[in-house]
Subunit: 168 residues, 2 copies
């Protein structure tokens, strides 16, 4: 059964650009996020995928991914919840593993995140100098969350916590 | 783009059994139902499918279906909302079309529904003698609804409309 084990970090500076590839554009949207699982549609260049992930605890989650036709993906994105996330993903080989460095665009501009998939939960690896704080367990940085509350609006008061009306 | 156009009826009596096949067992569950779309996992004999349908109005809905491995389907059903629906589906050829007659089991025992897929919305066809009331637009009979509020419990007061506590 396909499990995904990955760790996620903020990126400090541009040091990673020397060894990374030029990247590819990813567009993705979430059609559902039930608390038990999420359903994501993603396009990357001319390839489209459908991905279901269990709402797992910690860094290990059940994940199923299937290729789908590109025109299906375009139509399915219209059934999304939240907005479409756009980012450029760069790959960087690292001691037999691969860093995926996502440079977000649009409403999430300014956010740069590095992820690394591990063969098992306690797999050790050296951290590059450009790695910042670990955010593996932080729900704000999940893509399912970013499409509802994008990075550019994190400074705003959350809905439901508005400043009281001065006329009251 | 794959659209589904179908009409759905209750079944009156057993007259259909003469011409129908012996049927196959279907098990299905819904992983999400967002108001914009539903995500269904279904097994039928040794075949498993993932289906997404738009929450369309009337009898026409956008539908995407993909084959998935049987063991994926079994694992994915654990992420469901509501219960698993089980039914035996019989096929019956009908003037170039096909009736699908679903005899529900378990919590939906007693419910028998016939569906027919049409090439376009105003396609005409003769109704068999065993056809009862049309339920195409009735949300109670959708499988997504039956897994949350099964047929056997329709006689009960809905949640939130309980009889007042006599001690009060």
């Amino acid at each position: 059964m396909p499990f995904e084990i990955e760790r996620k970090f903020l990126v400090a500076g541009d040091g990673w650009r020397v060894d990374a590839d030029s990247g590819s554009i990813i567009r993705q949207a979430y059609l559902a996020n039930t608390g038990k699982m999420s359903l994501r549609i993603r396009t990357r260049d001319s390839r489209a995928t459908l991905t279901m992930k269990s709402a797992g605890m910690g860094i290990s989650r059940l994940e199923f991914e299937y290729d789908i036709p590109l025109d299906h993906a375009t139509a399915l994105m219209e059934l999304r919840e939240g907005s479409i996330i756009e980012k450029r993903r760069h790959l960087l080989p690292w001691y037999g593993l691969t860093w995926e460095i996502d440079v977000f665009q649009g409403e999430n501009d300014g956010l740069v995140v590095a992820e690394i998939e591990l063969p098992h939960e306690d797999h050790g690896f050296p951290l590059p100098s450009w790695i910042g704080a670990e955010i593996s367990g932080d729900p704000r940085y999940s893509n399912a969350s970013l499409c509802k509350r994008p990075f550019s609006r994190w400074g705003e008061a959350p809905a439901g916590e508005r400043v009281a009306d001065p006329e009251m």
